[in-house]
Point group: C2
Chain length 192, copies 2
DNA sequence: ACGTTATGTAAGCATAGACTTACACCATGG
DNA sequence: CCATGGTGTAAGTCTATGCTTACATAACGT
C-alpha cells in the first residue's frame, strides 16, 4: 500500500489562508498564484485539493461562516444567558473579524455564477436562521415563532452589522460611533 | 478650424451605459471590451474619453450618486413635506433602481485602489449628509444638529437599504417582507 | 527491499483583458 | 474648397491568470 491520503487535513490547513485571501482581495483579485503564495505552495497543489477556483471560494464561504458561528455559539454557551444583546455587544467590538462581510461582498460580485450564488445564499440563510432564533428568544417567542415582526427585526439587525462594516471600510464611521451603533440601535430593534 | 470637441457630450451619453455595466457586472468583470460593446463603440473611443478604466469607474460612481440624489430631491420637492418617511416608502418600492448599492459593493471590492476608495468615500459621505439632513429635520433639529443620536439613526437606516439589497440579491428576502422593511423599521429608527 | 502512490517543483499553454497604434474618414471654419 | 483635427475602425502588444503536464522525490505497507 502507498502513502495514505492526507488531502482532507491539507484542505483544513490551507482553507483559513485561502479564505482570508478571498476576504481581503475579493474573488477576481485573489488569483490562484496569490492564493498559492500565501499558502506557501505551488498552484497545482491547490488544484489537487479543489477542482477549480470556484470550489476554493465556495469552501472559503462555508469556512468563514462556520468559524463565525462557532464563536457566537461559544459566546452564548459561556456567558450565562444574556442572549441577543450580548451578541450585539460582542460584534460591536469584534466586528467582522472572521471576514464574514468581506466574503459576502466579494461573493455578491459573483452572483451571476449560479453555484457561488447558491452557496452564498445557503450559507447566509443559515446565518439568518441563527440570528432569528436569538431574536425570537429575546422576545419570548419559540425558535420559529414571532411572525414577520421578528423577521423584520432580524433583517434590520443584519443591516446594522453590514453597514458598520461598510462605514469602517470607507473610513466614514468613527470607531467611537461604530461601537455604539450595534448595541444602541440593536437594542431598539430587538425590542421593537 | 476643425470640428468642435464633443467629448463632453459623448461622455454624458455613454456614462449611464458604463455605469449600468459596472453596477451589473462589478469592476473586474466589466471589461473594457464589454463596456465598449454596450456603448456600441470600440474600446479606444472609451480611452479617448477617460484616461483609464479606473477613471471610468470613478465617473460611474459619481453619476449613479448624482442620479439618485436628483430623484430624491425631486421627490421631496414635489410631494409636500412628508420628508424622511416618504423617502423610506419610495425606496421600499424603487429599491436601488439606479444601481447605487451594486456600485457600492463593486467599489468595496476595490478599496485597495486608493483613488477608487477615495471617490467612493467622498460620494458616500455626500449621500450620508443628505440622509442626515432629512433625519435631523424629521426630529425637529437643525440640518447638522441632533448629535450622535441622529448619526446612529442615519447609519442604521442606511443599513436597512443596504441589507434590503443584499437580501433581494440572494433571493432570501421575500418581496412582501422587503416592502415592509424600510417603512416599518425605518420609522422605528427615525423616531428613536 | 520494493513497488505503489501521494507530495512537491517547474515549466508551459491558452485565453482574456487593459491599453496602443495606424489609418481612413468627414465635419467644420476660413 | 481645402486644410485641420475630431471621430470611427481594425489590428496589435503585453501582461496576468486559470489551469495542466512532466517529472523528481519521499513516504507507506507488504
Amino acid at each position: 500500500m502507498p502513502r495514505p491520503d492526507r488531502s482532507e487535513e491539507r484542505r483544513a490547513e490551507l482553507l483559513p489562508v485561502v479564505a482570508e485571501a478571498f476576504a481581503e482581495l475579493g474573488y477576481r483579485r485573489a488569483s490562484t498564484a496569490e492564493l498559492a503564495d500565501r499558502c506557501g505552495v505551488r498552484v497545482n497543489i491547490l488544484y489537487r485539493l479543489w477542482p477549480d477556483k470556484q470550489a476554493m471560494f465556495i469552501a472559503a464561504i462555508r469556512h468563514v461562516f462556520d468559524r463565525s458561528l462557532e464563536t457566537w455559539e461559544a459566546l452564548l454557551a459561556d456567558g450565562g444567558d444574556a442572549g441577543a444583546p450580548e451578541l450585539l455587544r460582542y460584534e460591536a467590538k469584534h466586528l467582522g473579524e472572521h471576514g464574514f462581510y468581506r466574503i459576502l461582498f466579494a461573493g455578491l460580485g459573483e452572483t451571476d455564477d449560479p453555484e457561488i450564488k447558491a452557496a452564498l445564499a445557503e450559507t447566509y440563510a443559515d446565518f439568518l436562521a441563527f440570528i432569528r432564533t436569538q431574536v425570537a428568544a429575546h422576545r419570548g417567542a419559540p425558535p420559529r415563532g414571532g411572525g414577520a415582526a421578528v423577521d423584520l427585526a432580524v433583517w434590520a439587525i443584519l443591516g446594522l452589522g453590514t453597514i458598520a462594516n461598510v462605514g469602517r471600510e470607507l473610513g466614514l464611521l468613527p470607531p467611537r460611533l461604530r461601537e455604539r451603533l450595534l448595541p444602541e440601535m440593536g437594542d431598539l430593534l430587538l425590542d421593537g
